[in-house]
């Protein structure tokens, strides 16, 4: 038990510190790297709770894909740090309000769960015994039965976002000669090589 408690405090402390560094680091690339550290520690906390599938998905999706693209973009941007700092006080009330609302919501959710665990869990499907059913199976069973339409809906939203991104960035350029691999493979000797009997000193 004591090892688990130590691990929890280690992960939690590093995560909070990394999250603080995300918003306070001067260099945006360092911010993204600290964000990745925070994701990692969140995955560690998931593992400690026995949610190994979620932990791995967090690492694969957020760290392995989303944060890579983030880092990619941030590295290419030519950011003016002074300009970034200028609006800080002006945006502080709005940002602070959003943070407070999020905090209040979290307190409500966790508070309700702590106050009466039965009431919070009651209407949902009972949690299967982790000793017999693995995480992945349990998630799959609930996701593809009870919440299948919501799940499909989420997929649809992502599809729309993807198509939107393509529509926004696609540009048709004229005069570009693209390589068509099929054409190259279909070429035969007969249509691409011609033997010419050139007369001497005459040229073709």
């Amino acid at each position: 038990m004591i090892i688990q408690a130590l691990a929890f405090y280690l992960f939690a402390a590093v995560m909070v510190a990394a999250a603080a560094m995300v918003i306070s680091a001067r260099n945006p690339v360092h911010s993204v790297l600290f964000l990745i550290l925070a994701f990692f520690n969140a995955a560690g906390l998931f593992v400690l709770m026995g949610a190994e599938f979620l932990a791995m998905i967090l690492v694969v999706v957020y760290v392995g894909a989303v944060a890579v693209l983030f880092l990619f973009v941030v590295m290419m941007l030519d950011v003016d740090f002074a300009a970034l700092r200028q609006g800080f006080l002006r945006y502080l009330p709005v940002g602070g309000a959003i943070g407070l609302i999020l905090l209040a919501e979290l307190v409500l959710v966790v508070g309700a769960w702590v106050a009466s665990p039965e009431a919070a869990v009651g209407p949902i499907v009972p949690i299967p015994d982790p000793a017999r059913v693995t995480n992945t199976h349990a998630l799959g069973r609930i996701l593809y039965t009870r919440y299948v339409f919501v799940f499909q809906g989420a997929g649809l939203v992502l599809l729309v976002a993807m198509i939107g991104a393509i529509v926004l960035t696609l540009r048709e350029r004229v005069g570009v000669r693209r390589q068509v691999v099929a054409d190259q493979i279909r070429r035969t000797r007969a249509e691409s090589v011609e033997l010419v009997d050139a007369p001497k000193r005459g040229g073709v």
Partner: protein, 336 residues
């Protein structure tokens, strides 16, 4: 105090010993893989390869290692020193920690986690960070170009690797690596899933930045890519990490498609050989193909690389996932 010894110190010491038992042979294999690469390519090109240091050049890796150790570590003045130093360490560490989940025989695994294959996938998708960080922290255009190429390439090929893994998982019904191997007792998966096997192997070449997808270090265009500015041991860590990743991808190929530690036939002369040796043999076979490809294929052009990943592998592997799921449902072969 007694509880401390039996409860924490002893298990901790056992785990450290197990880690050493995995990592020390692995590092030896990495060192000799560099020699094997030079020897194999030399044989293909009708040369002798390294043959001066020790008998048949067998001491060459040690000489190389000592040379790298004794050189000076240079940190460029314009570099970001912290990220610059962390990047090679990260690459090397990631290539080692993935081995925790690899089963060498039935029950012979450091951490038999339920989501083993996802763990491997997650770790291998992190490999790109070492490269991006190195390219950015070097503050050099060549290094940065190499890092960008590598990032785009690894993210692209990860997608098809993910679909290949899903196909295998559909046939197994578990994410545990031991169960994936045990599911292949009757037939190794490379027979029914042959196209997926090829896609996985080729994507593995791209994921480890090996030839013919070694554009991130394309020496004819961008000198050496992301590690131009690195010297001495920091360079050696990248080098070791790349080779350890090759062995890791070979091990993943063996576990997913070639039956892990299982012998090819479950009859007498094959079953006498212990499982870890079969496993090592399969890894060796995959590694040989890695080297063979390097000696044979010219480097891809960048747009061709992207075309192959997104327009060929991705649709095909997606189609194969749907096909496999359909066949499993239609025939009632769905596991469990």
């Amino acid at each position: 105090m007694a509880e401390f010894w039996s409860g924490y110190a002893l298990p901790g010491a056992i785990i450290v010993a197990q880690i050493l038992v995995i990592i020390v042979p692995l590092l030896g294999a990495v060192a000799y893989l560099t020699l094997a690469e030079r020897k194999v390519i030399a044989a293909i090109q009708l040369r002798k390869g390294p043959n001066v240091v020790g008998p048949f050049g067998l001491l060459q890796p040690i000489a190389d290692g000592v040379k790298l150790l004794l050189k000076e570590t240079v940190i460029p003045s314009g570099a970001n020193p912290v990220v610059f130093v962390i990047a090679p360490m990260l690459t090397f560490m990631l290539s080692l920690i993935a081995w925790a989940a690899i089963p060498f025989d039935l029950g012979l695994v450091l951490a038999d986690i339920n989501v083993g294959i996802l763990y491997l996938f997650a770790i291998s998708s992190l490999g790109v960070y070492g490269i991006i960080m190195a390219g950015w922290a070097s503050n050099s255009k060549y290094a940065f170009l190499g890092a960008l190429r590598s990032a785009a390439q690894m993210v692209s090929y990860e997608v098809s690797i993910g679909f290949v893994i899903i196909t295998v998982l559909l046939c197994v019904g578990s994410l545990n690596l031991t169960e994936i191997v045990l599911a292949q007792e009757n037939m190794w998966f490379f027979i029914p899933l042959f196209p997926m096997f090829i896609i996985f192997f080729v994507s593995g070449l791209a994921e480890t930045n090996r030839s013919p997808f070694d554009l991130p270090e394309g020496e004819s265009e961008i000198v050496a890519g992301y590690f131009v500015e690195y010297s001495s041991m920091s360079f050696a860590l990248f080098f070791l990490g790349e080779y350890a990743n090759m062995i890791l991808v070979s091990a993943m190929t063996s576990v997913l498609f070639l039956g892990g530690w299982l012998p090819p036939f479950d009859v007498a002369p094959f079953t006498w050989i212990p499982g870890p040796i079969w496993f090592a043999g399969k890894i060796g076979l995959c590694l040989f193909v890695f080297l063979w490809v390097r000696a044979t294929m010219p480097r891809y052009r960048y747009d061709q690389l992207m075309r192959l990943g997104w327009k060929v592998f991705l649709p095909f592997s997606l189609f194969w996932v749907v096909l496999t799921a359909g066949v499993l449902m239609a025939t009632g072969w769905v596991p469990r």
